[in-house]
Subunit: 524 residues, 2 copies
C-alpha cells in the first residue's frame, strides 16, 4: 500500500515545503500583506461510525474482517477529495461526512459481492482510488440509507495481462500512476498518461473520470486508451470491449468511462499501451501574445503534426511562472506567452517530429526558447498541488478549474471566464493555459489566486459559480478533465439538457435501482 | 432528390452491367455450370397501405400533404435494405413488410413533431436515409402498433454551417456521400468518409450505424468525426457536443452514434472536416502470405505511420481480384497477398508519409507493385454491390460480412470464420481482407460466394449463423461497420451481455417509452 495523504493537504508529506521566497514576493506584490488564515483545527469533529454491527459483519464476510476498517484516522482520509473547498473544510476540522467504514476488496468478485450486498441492505458505496478528486466526487449523500462505506480499491493493484502483439494491457483499478508505469516498464511499455495527479491518482479513477494527461497530444485521453473494461454493478457484472472499434450499437464503454462510480465500480480496464520512449525532450517557445500561440497550437493540431506535449500559457501565467513580478497584470502582454512542446518516442521519431514542428512554429513567428523552460516545466509538473497548500497557509485562496470548447470560441471563452473570476474575486490573479489540444478545439485550464476572505469557502463558491455560468453561457463544457462530481452537477444538467439527464437517470436506475452507488454524484 | 435505387438491385440502373467474361470464367471454374436462378417475380405482392386515414391526416398536418406518400412503387423501395437476403426476398416479389406510408419532413422541428405524433398514436417509425443497410435495420416490427411509416430524410440535405477555424461542419442527415462532399468541396474541405455504400448512403446513416470508410486509416471512423449532434426523440430533443472532448460524464454522443434509429432520429451532425487533399495516390504491395501482410499493417498502425488507406487481401481474395483462376484455392498462397496503400493530403505530407511507409514496408519484406493495382482498386472501390447483382443473376449466392478483434486474435479469427463459412456452404469461395486497422487490432471483411441452393435465403441464413457463432466464440465483435439491425441482434446481446442489454433497454424505454422508433431493431 502506498503512502496515505494527509487529510488536509496534498501528496507526500516529505515532499511538501513552505512557500519559496520568490513566490512569497509575488504574493506580496499581488495581494499586499495578508493576515494569517485561521489556524488548522487541532482537534477535528468526526461522527462515530454509525453503521449497524450486523451490516459490518456482512461486509466482513465478503472481504475478511481485517479489510473492514472503522478507525477515525482512516475515515478522515476517506472523507473528501483534494479540491480547495475540500481542504478548507478539512483544515477547519469538519469531518462530519466521513464514511462509516472503509472496505477493501481483493478482486472483482468481492467488489461484485459488495455492491450486491450494499444494494440489498441499502448502504451507500463510494468507490475510492487515489482520493485526488477535485469536484466533490467523494461527497456522496446518505439520506435514507443505512450507512455509507468507502470502497477502497487499494488492494486491487495487479497488472493482469499484457498482450505485446495487440499492444494492450489489463490493469486493476487501484494501481496508482507510478505503480502502473513501473509494472508496464517491466515489459518495455508505457501508458503515457501523466495528469497532474499522476503520483497519487489511480487507474480506476482515470477511467471513471475521463482523465486527460499532460502528454495527451501524443498519447490521447484516458478514455481514448481504454479498449475494454469490467465493472461490478448491483444489476450484475459488465464486460465490454471485443475490438478496438465496433459498429455493434452504441459504444457502451463510453457510458462507463466518466460514470464516476455512480453506474458501477470499474474493476479492470484493458488499455492500449505504447513502447516506452527511447528519447524524451521538452523545450520552450515564446509567442508575442496568447492569440498567436493559440493559432500555432491549432495549426499543429489540424496539420496532424502534434508533439507529445503541447501547453501554452497566457500572458499572466507566463509572467508568474517566470517569476517576473514586473510583468504581472501587464494587459498588453509585456512578456508574451510561453509554450512548452515535448517529444517522446524512438530517437528517430522524436527527431523527425521535432524538426517538422519546429519548422511550423518558426514559420508562424514563434521564438525558440531552448530546453531550459522545458526542463523547468518537466521538473515541476506534478508540484502545483503542494504549492497550493503553501499558499493556503499564507492566506491566499487558490484553486483551479478547466473547460474546453471549439477553436473559434476559445479566445472569447478565455476572456469570459477570466472576467467572471476577476469580477467575483476582488483583486484576483487569473492564470490560464491551453492544456490539451484537438483538431477541432482545446481546453483552457485556469488557476485563480486571491486574498482569502473571512469565509474563503463561500468566497470560492461564489467565484466558481460565476466562472461556471460563464462557461455554460459560452456553450463550453463544464469540465474537460476534472469530472462532474457534486460541484458541477447543476451545470452538467444544463450541458446535456433534460433529455440527456433522462437517459443518464434511466441507466442509473437500471444498473443501480436501489441508488446506493455514489448517491448524489454525477447524475443530476 | 437523387435517383432512387431499384427495389431488388443496387445503385444506379445505368451503372449496372452483366457479369464480365473473366468473372464468368472464374464462376464456372469455382462452381461448375450453374442452373439459372428463379426468374425475378414480374408482379409483386405488396399489402395495401393499412394505416388509418385519420393518422395520415395527422402526418399531413405536420409535413404537408405532398410529403405523405402511399404509392406502391415508393413503398416497395422503402421496404428493406440491400443485404443479399433483402434482395432475394425482393426478387421473389415479397413486399409484405412494406411501410404504410412514406413521410418526408423538411427539418428538425418536423421530425420532432413526427416522432411525438407517432408516439402518441402508436405508429412505428423507420428512419430512412440511403436505404443501403445490410443488416435488416429497416425491417422494423409493427406488432400491436397502428401502422408503420418510413421517415424519409431525403429533404434534409443542407450544409448548415461551416466553421473554418474549428474545422467543423454541420450537416443534415439526408445528404448522400457525394452530395456532402460536393458541398464541402465548395469550401475547400472534405469529410474523407468513403464506405463502399458512399454513392447512396447518407450522413444520418453514417452516424446511426457507426460507419467506417475505406480511408479510415487516415480520416478515422465516422463516429470519431462527430463532435456534436441533434436528435429528435419522443421524450424531446437532444443537443450534444460542447467541445471536442469532455470529462462531463459519460459521452452521450456515443450513445446516439450507433443507435440505428431506435433511440432517436438524428437530425444533424457536426463533424470534424479536413482540407480537401492536394494530392492522392494509391499503390500496391505484395506479401508472401497473409500473416506477413498483417504483421506489416500492425507495424504501421503501432508506429503511428498509417497511410490514408490501408487494405490487405488474403490469398484467395488476391487471386480472385487478380482474376487468376489457377491460384484459386491454393492453400499455400501461390500468388501471395495484395495490399493497397493510399495517401491523401498536401503534396508534401503525401511525399513524407509515403516515404516513411515505403521504408517500413520494404524493410518488412514487402514488394512494391506500383500504382496500377492502386488505380484498379480506386476505380472499382464502389462497384462490388453491382457485381453482386450480376452474380445473383447467374445463380451464385454472394454476400459479405465483417468483424474486428485485437491483433493477437486476428489470424485465428480469420481461420475460424473461413472454416465456419466453408463448413456451412458446400464448395464456397471465401475471400477476406483487412479493411480497417487500429493500434490494437483490425477488422476482417469477408466475401462469400457459393452455388445457389433451391432456397438461397435459408442457405445463407445457415451460413451467416455459423459465421456469427464463430465470431462470438472467438470473442470478436459481431460487426465492425455494418451495425446490428435485426440480423445481428442475437449475437449483439451475447456481445454486450445481460447488463449491457439492461442499460440499453433502459435508455430505449426512457427516450421512446411507446416503443415506436424502429421497433425490433438493435435493442435485444
Amino acid at each position: 500500500m502506498t503512502a496515505e495523504m494527509h487529510p488536509s493537504r496534498w501528496g507526500d508529506p516529505a515532499a511538501a515545503a513552505p512557500l519559496p521566497d520568490t513566490a512569497r514576493e509575488l504574493v506580496r506584490l499581488a495581494f499586499g500583506d495578508l493576515p494569517a488564515p485561521a489556524a488548522e483545527a487541532s482537534g477535528s469533529r468526526i461522527a462515530a461510525s454509525a453503521i449497524d454491527e450486523d451490516l459490518l459483519d456482512g461486509l466482513r464476510r465478503i472481504v475478511g474482517a481485517e479489510h473492514v476498517l472503522i478507525d477515525d484516522d482512516l475515515r478522515r482520509r476517506r472523507t473528501r477529495g483534494k479540491s480547495t473547498p475540500d481542504l478548507l473544510r478539512n483544515r477547519a476540522g469538519d469531518f462530519a461526512e466521513a464514511p462509516d467504514a472503509v472496505v477493501r476488496p481483493a478482486d472483482h468478485d468481492q467488489v461484485q459481492a459488495l455492491v450486491a450486498y450494499a444494494a440489498a441492505h441499502r448502504v451507500a458505496v463510494v468507490p475510492f482510488g487515489g482520493g485526488t478528486c477535485v469536484t466533490g466526487g467523494l461527497a456522496a449523500r446518505r439520506d435514507g440509507l443505512a450507512g455509507l462505506v468507502s470502497l477502497d480499491l487499494g488492494r486491487m493493484t495487479a497488472l493482469r495481462d499484457v498482450d505485446p502483439v495487440s499492444m494492450t494491457a489489463t490493469l486493476e483499478p487501484g494501481l496508482r500512476g507510478p505503480e502502473a508505469e513501473a509494472l508496464l516498464a517491466g515489459h518495455g511499455l508505457t501508458l503515457g498518461h501523466f495528469p497532474q495527479s499522476f503520483e497519487f491518482a489511480t487507474i480506476g479513477g482515470f477511467a471513471a473520470t475521463r482523465s486527460s494527461g499532460q502528454a495527451s497530444a501524443g498519447y490521447g485521453r484516458f478514455d481514448g486508451m481504454v479498449v475494454g473494461l469490467t465493472a461490478a454493478t448491483p444489476a450484475g457484472e459488465l464486460r465490454l470491449g471485443t475490438a478496438p472499434a465496433s459498429a455493434a450499437g452504441p459504444d457502451l464503454r463510453q457510458l462507463l468511462l466518466g460514470s464516476e462510480g455512480a453506474l458501477g465500480v470499474i474493476t479492470s480496464v484493458t488499455v492500449r499501451v505504447r513502447r516506452a520512449p527511447e528519447a524524451t525532450v521538452h523545450e520552450g517557445w515564446r509567442w508575442a501574445c496568447f492569440a498567436d500561440g493559440v493559432a500555432a497550437a491549432r495549426t499543429l493540431a489540424q496539420a496532424g503534426l502534434l508533439p507529445t506535449v503541447l501547453r501554452l500559457s497566457d500572458e499572466t501565467e507566463t509572467a508568474v511562472n517566470l517569476a517576473d513580478p514586473d510583468a504581472l497584470g501587464g494587459a498588453d502582454g509585456v512578456g508574451g506567452c510561453l509554450m512548452i512542446t515535448g517529444y517522446e518516442g524512438t530517437a528517430e521519431a522524436v527527431a523527425a517530429r521535432r524538426a517538422a514542428v519546429t519548422a511550423v512554429l518558426s514559420g508562424l513567428g514563434g521564438t525558440p526558447a531552448g530546453e531550459e523552460p522545458g526542463r523547468a516545466w518537466e521538473q515541476g509538473r506534478f508540484h502545483a498541488p503542494y504549492l497550493r497548500d503553501a499558499l493556503l497557509d499564507e492566506g491566499v485562496l487558490v484553486e483551479t478549474l478547466e473547460t474546453a470548447t471549439f477553436w473559434s470560441g476559445l479566445e472569447s471563452l478565455h476572456a469570459e471566464v477570466t472576467g467572471a473570476l476577476t469580477g467575483a474575486l476582488d483583486g484576483a490573479l487569473v492564470l490560464c493555459h491551453v492544456s490539451h489540444v484537438y483538431e477541432t478545439g482545446a481546453s483552457l485550464y485556469f488557476t485563480v489566486a486571491a486574498r482569502q476572505a473571512a469565509d474563503p469557502l463561500a468566497q470560492w463558491q461564489a467565484a466558481k459559480a460565476a466562472a461556471s455560468d460563464a462557461i455554460r453561457a459560452a456553450g463550453a463544457t463544464i469540465t474537460h478533465h476534472h469530472a462532474v462530481g457534486t460541484d458541477h452537477r447543476q451545470w452538467y444538467a444544463d450541458e446535456i439538457g433534460p433529455v440527456g439527464v433522462l437517459a443518464l437517470r434511466a441507466v442509473k436506475d437500471a444498473l443501480d435501482p436501489a441508488g446506493v452507488l455514489n448517491p448524489g454524484v454525477l447524475v443530476p
